[in-house]
């Protein structure tokens, strides 16, 4: 099984390179995932990362793009709850990248 090495400890990953165990997540792991995604985390990124993680913990489901936009608009306002803003922060796809950095399972492909 693939893993991520953090402080000389191996953290297991799933076959898609996402965190295998939700509860293993730390901010340090987030920074490492971001590096692999070629993203330097700013406070704006962190806000989204914490948002999707909180979303998962509440709904037991990784948010699909459309619903991430909607939930963010409701909670943080339309300036942040729009896909342009999210794609600026996570160019390869906010649902895909932010969930990985937040230590969540990969969202379903088909939604």
């Amino acid at each position: 099984m693939a893993h991520l090495t953090i402080n000389e400890t191996a953290v297991p990953l799933d076959q898609h390179g996402y965190l295998a165990n939700l509860q293993d997540w730390t901010e340090q792991i987030a920074v490492e995932f971001a590096r692999l995604e070629n993203i330097v985390l700013t406070s704006a990124h962190w806000e989204v990362v914490h948002f999707v993680r909180q979303f998962y913990l509440e709904f037991n489901s990784s948010p699909a793009m459309r619903i991430l936009v909607k939930a963010m608009a409701q909670q943080l306002g339309p300036d942040k709850g729009n896909s342009k803003y999210l794609f600026m922060l996570f160019p390869q796809g906010p649902a895909k990248q932010a969930t990985r950095i937040a230590g969540l399972p990969k969202p379903a492909k088909c939604l």
């Binding site: 379903a108 492909k109 088909c110 939604l111």
Partner: protein, 120 residues
């Protein structure tokens, strides 16, 4: 004349739904109706497995269905997520010829094209 969508949700080997859906589709087309799509979800995605091994005296309904849909230009779609979860398709395991990977989103959008959805 009506436009139909057809939804399959149970395992095509363990059930008669593949036979039924083809009988229904033929009858509908013969009566001049149209069929927009056929969507495989839940256990119906097992029919997408390309490596099934059937003895010669057992009907290969999954292949027949693909031929039928091709002949009549019916979109034959399956839910990629449901198929991947069941190990039916993967990066190294392509879908059976004629079956097109799609998502629930596409199925949802196609509902506006049809008058009736029939589930098998």
């Amino acid at each position: 004349m009506a436009r139909f969508g057809l939804l399959l949700t149970c395992n095509g080997f363990a059930n008669q739904n593949l036979a039924s859906v083809m009988l229904f589709a033929r009858a509908a087309l013969n009566k001049g109706h149209e069929i927009d799509h056929l969507f495989l979800y839940q256990d119906a995605v097992y029919s997408v497995a390309a490596h099934t091994d059937l003895p010669a005296d057992e009907p290969d309904l999954a292949s027949e269905l693909a031929q039928f849909c091709q002949q009549h230009a019916i979109a034959l779609l399956f839910c990629i997520t449901a198929a991947e979860k069941r190990g039916v398709v993967s990066d190294i395991r392509p879908a059976r010829a004629g079956y097109i990977a799609a998502g629930l989103a596409e199925f949802a959008m196609r509902q506006v094209n049809i008058d009736k959805l029939v589930q098998f």
